[in-house]
């Protein structure tokens, strides 16, 4: 059974640099301390982002993953996209074109919640096991 709470959606500030990034982290930090935090960062407003901003995103992702949660990006502005690519972190984040899509992705049924049917090869190996025993 899943125990995580609701998905948190937060808007990343337009100037996601130095001090702004620090303030953002102060706001988001406590939310990441919950069990299995599920966070969507909406990046459509981002016009400027520096290495401090990228560092903050990576730190948030790390905190979320440590607690078995995840952090996803949504509506990433071209400016933010260029910076993420420039600093080679674009592939680290799962990105979605809208926040709704990102939220929905959290609610997808996890693999371990699916009914476990016997694998297709079960019957074959089952028979082989019986043959082995017989021999």
């Amino acid at each position: 059974m899943l125990t995580s709470g609701p998905v948190i959606v937060m808007q990343v500030p337009e100037q996601f640099t130095g001090e702004e990034a620090h303030l953002f982290m102060q706001e988001l930090g406590p939310l990441l301390e919950s069990n299995r935090p599920r966070v969507v960062l909406e990046c459509s407003q981002v016009r400027s982002m520096d290495s401090a901003g990228i560092e903050t995103l990576l730190h948030c992702l790390e905190e979320a993953l440590k607690r078995d949660g995840d952090l996803k990006l949504a509506s990433v502005s071209p400016e933010a996209e260029v910076m993420l690519e420039l600093l080679r972190v674009a592939r680290v984040f799962e990105t979605f074109s809208t926040s709704e899509e990102a939220v929905r992705s959290f609610n997808a049924i996890p693999a371990d919640a699916l009914p476990q049917e016997a694998p297709w090869y079960g019957a074959i190996f089952g028979d082989l096991g019986a043959l082995k025993q017989a021999s």
């Binding site: 400027s48 520096d50 401090a52 071209p78 400016e79 996209e81 420039l86 600093l87």
Partner: protein, 337 residues
């Protein structure tokens, strides 16, 4: 006995669109900047134009530069910097040519990169018996004329007179790049490195397709994959990869492990450690991504910075025009095409 005049001014060509239609050309935006002054593959388009014309036997050659552009040009020796109007300077020069008995003067306004034969253009002008002959290509008119100085009077409005010049136009069949947008600039670099035009990098071809200028250093473990150009005193650190028609202009440094792909790094730019530059033009603290059509100011000196004054004229160590930060101005023309 022909003469030549080259002018470098920030001009608009939009007003000429009516005439352009006669040559089957789509509309263009105003030329808002002097991209022809930006060093590409070791030399600016403006510098290449002067060099190209100087190889022909013109009796006189005058160069007029708008004072607002003077700081963007490396070597102003032999050029006249005109604060008022480069066109007026050109008109004065035409009158002097008339007095000296010169029968044809080639007038080129720096902007587009045009591969043409000046001798053939002047021959065409003489054969047609025109007063003014203007060059064009498949896309429209070019800022290249041959003028009979005999018609030039004192106080002539040369610019208007030339814009009203009609047919027949001289058809340029060689390579033309109008260098109106940053995308055009990148295209010119790619075409030069891929030998799609006669624009040659200023350096030695150390391997097929890899050009290096004097003083360029490549550290052990760095890879330069053709076609690529490294300008004068460029430093490429260990584990870097420079490829896909990238050009690293004079005095740049690309730091450890960075990949530069399909990009131009303009002179005096430091690019930090472990970065990925793709489809970009980088100039000091400014980065333009041509795929996403975004221009960014990088304020983090660890990522990108201007290394030092690389121009003798103090101001304007940045190569791209100041309006490019509002990227749209320079990018949109390409977008609309």
């Amino acid at each position: 006995m022909p003469g030549a005049i080259v002018i470098a001014g920030v001009e608009s060509q939009a007003e000429e669109n009516e005439q352009l239609n006669s040559c089957g050309v789509s509309s263009r935006e105003c030329r808002q900047s002097f991209l022809a002054g930006v060093e590409l593959l070791g030399q600016s388009v403006f510098g290449r134009l002067i060099q190209h014309l100087s190889h022909f036997s013109f009796d006189t050659m005058a160069v007029f530069v708008d004072s607002s552009l003077a700081h963007e040009i490396d070597d102003l020796s032999g050029m006249q910097v005109d604060a008022a109007d480069v066109w007026r300077g050109a008109a004065r020069s035409l009158i002097e040519a008339k007095e000296a008995g010169i029968d044809a003067v080639l007038l080129a306004q720096a902007g587009a990169y045009v591969e043409f034969d000046p001798a053939d253009l002047i021959r065409f002008h003489r054969d047609c018996g025109n007063i003014v002959t203007r060059a064009c290509d498949d896309r429209g008119l070019l800022d290249l004329w041959v003028i009979d100085p005999g018609i030039v009077q004192e106080n002539i409005d040369l610019k208007s007179s030339l814009q009203t010049a009609g047919r027949p136009y001289y058809q340029v069949h060689g390579y033309v790049n109008r260098v109106e947008t940053l995308r055009d600039m990148r295209q010119l670099v790619a075409d030069g490195l891929s030998s799609r035009c006669h624009l040659r990098p200023q350096g030695v071809e150390v391997r097929p397709g890899v050009w290096m200028a004097e003083g360029a250093q490549v550290e052990r473990g760095a890879r330069i994959v053709a076609p690529a150009f490294l300008g004068r005193d460029v430093k490429i650190s260990e584990q870097c990869l420079i490829t896909r028609c990238s050009s690293i202009e004079r005095n740049c440094q690309i730091d450890y492990g960075t990949v530069v792909e399909d990009s131009s790094i303009l002179s005096g730019t430091y690019v930090g450690i472990g970065l990925d530059l793709s489809h970009c033009i980088a100039d000091g603290t400014c980065l333009v991504n041509l795929t996403r059509e975004v221009a960014l100011e990088i304020k983090d000196p660890v990522v990108m910075r201007l290394m030092r004054q690389n121009k003798p004229h103090g101001e304007g160590n940045r190569q791209l025009p100041s309006n490019f930060r509002h990227g749209e101005a320079v990018l949109s023309a390409a977008q609309e095409r």
